[in-house]
């Protein structure tokens, strides 16, 4: 007795589900991906109620609302600030910097100032509010 073989139709692999899922994944990754590189700057938090920081040990950098800098008692601009910071840290890299910000200084300005301190070789920075 002979059985009739069921004829196999020539069908390819169905691609539609593959495409569906790929598109869903693409849309998911497009919406959730960020190309922003998140980094962080470390800051000192002097312990509350601890000993007061000796004024002699700390060098103050004043930051004005209009973007001006004042290192100690000298007003400095542009490269002059970087140079004097470098000179200072080359003598003693462990010098603590106190960054005093005036009302109206934005976070970006404060971070820029911290950036310049770290770039000049500074290691420890802490921030305070300041009223001229």
């Amino acid at each position: 007795m002979e059985f009739e073989r069921s004829r196999k139709k020539m069908r390819g692999v169905p691609l539609t589900p593959l495409i569906d899922i790929t598109f869903i994944l693409i849309i998911f990754f497009m919406l959730t991906t960020s190309f922003m590189r998140v980094e962080s700057l470390e800051l000192i938090l002097p312990s509350a109620g601890g000993k007061k920081v000796d004024k002699q040990e700390v060098i103050r950098l004043f930051l004005y609302g209009n973007g001006d800098f004042q290192l100690g008692k000298r007003k400095l601009e542009g490269d002059a600030l970087d140079e004097s910071l470098k000179l200072m840290f080359s003598k003693d890299a462990a010098t603590k910097m106190m960054l005093l910000t005036e009302q109206g200084v934005t976070m970006q300005q404060m971070v820029n100032a911290m950036d310049r301190i770290y770039a000049a070789g500074g290691q420890s920075v802490f921030v305070r509010k300041w009223k001229p």
């Binding site: 938090l45 911290m114 770039a119």
Partner: protein, 139 residues
């Protein structure tokens, strides 16, 4: 006179290039980008060159454009931040606290938040920065 009709062949759209390109895009997005952490308020951190790639701390404090303070997942008024943080930090004083503040926020309000952390007993603090400015449509 009779014209012979041209027999139309059934058109088949080839799907292979489509799949190629979608796979390429998929792999690109998977490899090139990091999945963004969802945050309650949009925050554009300040740009800095000397930032280091550090893992985000265990406790993230967000400071939005309009001085709203979000500790973990709770919106906390600045005046109550210290009382909110004290029980958390008294158990784990060495917890790394990450302050993520918007670039346009007033530096003095960031310092207020830092003072609250300090008063609550925090020791390790880092400020979130980004290595390159991201251009936002609303800026």
């Amino acid at each position: 006179m009779e014209f012979k009709r041209i027999q139309k062949k059934p058109i088949e759209i080839s799907l292979i290039p489509l799949i190629d390109i979608s796979m390429f895009l998929l792999i690109f997005f998977m490899v090139a980008g990091a999945v963004e952490k969802f945050e309650i308020i949009p925050i554009d951190p300040p740009v800095a060159q000397s930032g280091k790639l550090v893992d985000e701390g265990h406790l993230v404090i967000l400071l939005g454009r309009h001085n709203e303070v979000i500790i973990g997942e709770d919106i906390v008024p600045l005046s109550q931040a210290q009382t909110f943080l004290t029980p958390i930090l008294s158990n784990h004083p060495n917890k790394v606290i990450t302050v993520k503040a918007d670039a346009t926020v007033d530096a003095n309000s960031v310092i207020d938040v830092m003072d609250a952390i300090k008063a609550a007993g925090g020791k390790n603090l880092s400020v979130v920065t980004q290595s390159k400015a991201v251009v936002h449509a609303d800026n």
